[in-house]
């Protein structure tokens, strides 16, 4: 019984950590201007090729992240979709001063509040995508 409880606790802890670690890894890949091989090494081989980039998916099959490379083979654009409850985890993983705003925006006849932020020093931005119920983080070379 004790072993079962311990196993459950370990599973619960690692479940929470898994994405945090992944978020830190994705941010580090950007800082080091990683190559395609390095991205695959760190994020796994369960990717799909898209143009010259790599796409990873959520367990529920929707696109989670994309990683694109310049002519020298280094990371030039990457994006990551983050559920609301993981939003703060990713912001913590990116050590940066965020310039943030919240704006009302009409999408059809519905008024949404769109949160967005910019970390200019690292060329990172985010914006809430209400239609997907996800935040989109983008790392883009200048």
């Amino acid at each position: 019984m004790m072993k079962l409880i311990l196993l459950f606790l370990v599973m619960a802890c690692t479940f929470g950590q898994k994405n945090d670690d992944r978020y830190s890894v994705i941010n580090r890949l950007w800082s080091e201007k990683a190559t395609k091989d390095r991205v695959i090494e760190k994020l796994g081989s369960n990717y799909e090729k898209k143009h010259d980039g790599l796409i990873y998916r959520f367990p529920w099959k929707a696109i989670e992240s994309g990683h694109f490379f310049d002519s020298s083979g280094k990371l030039t654009v990457q994006f990551l979709f983050v559920p609301k409850e993981r939003f703060q985890d990713l912001k913590k993983a990116i050590s940066c001063t965020w310039n943030e705003k919240s704006e009302s925006k009409d999408i059809g006849h519905t008024v949404h509040t769109i949160e967005s932020g910019k970390c200019s020093s690292e060329n990172i931005s985010y914006e809430y995508r209400p239609s997907m119920l996800l935040y989109e983080f983008r790392w883009e070379a200048k």
């Binding site: 898209k50 143009h51 010259d52 980039g53 796409i55 959520f58 529920w60 099959k61 929707a62 696109i63 994309g66 694109f68 654009v77 990457q78 994006f79 979709f81 559920p83 009302s104 009409d106 999408i107 059809g108 006849h109 519905t110 008024v111 949404h112 509040t113 209400p130 239609s131 997907m132 119920l133 996800l134 989109e136 983008r138 883009e140």
Partner: protein, 233 residues
């Protein structure tokens, strides 16, 4: 004798219950001894009281606001006071709507015309507001309009996994271009033309049809119908 006369004349009036316009007065009455479940209720006097004219009217009446939605920047939209007959119309409609619409969660605002021509209602999600325009009161399908607006509010309950399930069934695609930009591409066959605006609009149009014409919806969109049946409880 004079005192007794005074009591008869004035005391009942002094204790008379004042009811609101959305209530009816129920006179005091003697209730005979009667059985209830596994017990017996003694003979007693039921005092004069007010009863809602429409189910949950005492709850819904607090959902109407004459104020504009805070922070809403809809150019040219003028908010106005509710008329009693307009509120009454909604008090009749609201209790007839299914529980999954969660209509008790919203506040209803009144504005003259929408900034979008011909539009009868809008939703503002942060303040949980539903704005009804003059146009709404000219329409016959008032219930379906309120259901549609409610759907915008309940969309977030799908969570990203549910959204993905819905958009797969509806035919939305996520396209990534060479520059790594992500686009949401609507399906070619849409339930309504404005479904292409967003997945949320598409969802709301499906929910509206699911509610208004369930038989036709299940025939045309059997998988989406099953999906909504499982979610809207």
């Amino acid at each position: 004798m004079k005192l007794l006369l005074l009591l008869i004349l004035f005391v009942p009036k002094a204790y008379s219950v004042e009811c609101q316009w959305w209530q009816t007065k129920v006179s005091a009455s003697d209730i005979d001894k009667h059985p209830r479940k596994q017990t017996t209720v003694r003979q007693h006097l039921r005092a004069e009281h007010c009863r809602n004219r429409w189910k949950d009217a005492d709850v819904h009446i607090n959902q109407f606001s004459d104020d504009p939605v805070v922070g809403l920047s809809h150019k040219g939209e003028v908010f106005k006071k509710w008329e009693r007959n307009e509120i009454q119309l909604l008090l009749e409609i609201l209790p007839t709507l299914p529980a999954w619409t969660e209509v008790k969660n919203y506040n209803f605002r009144r504005a003259k015309d929408s900034m979008y021509k011909g539009n009868s209602a809008s939703s503002e999600l942060i303040n949980k507001s539903i704005i009804l325009y003059d146009q709404f009161f000219k329409k016959r399908n008032k219930k379906s309009i309120v259901v549609h607006e409610s759907s915008h509010h309940i969309y977030k309950k799908l969570r990203p996994e549910g959204v993905n399930e819905f958009v797969d069934l509806s035919g939305w695609k996520l396209e990534v271009d060479k520059a790594g930009k992500v686009y949401e591409i609507p399906p070619k066959a849409l339930i309504k033309p404005d479904s292409s605006i967003s997945k949320e609009e598409d969802f709301s149009n499906h929910v509206e049809e699911f509610y208004v014409s369930p038989d036709s919806h299940t025939k045309k969109y059997p998988k989406i119908h099953q999906f909504l049946k499982g979610r809207l409880k």
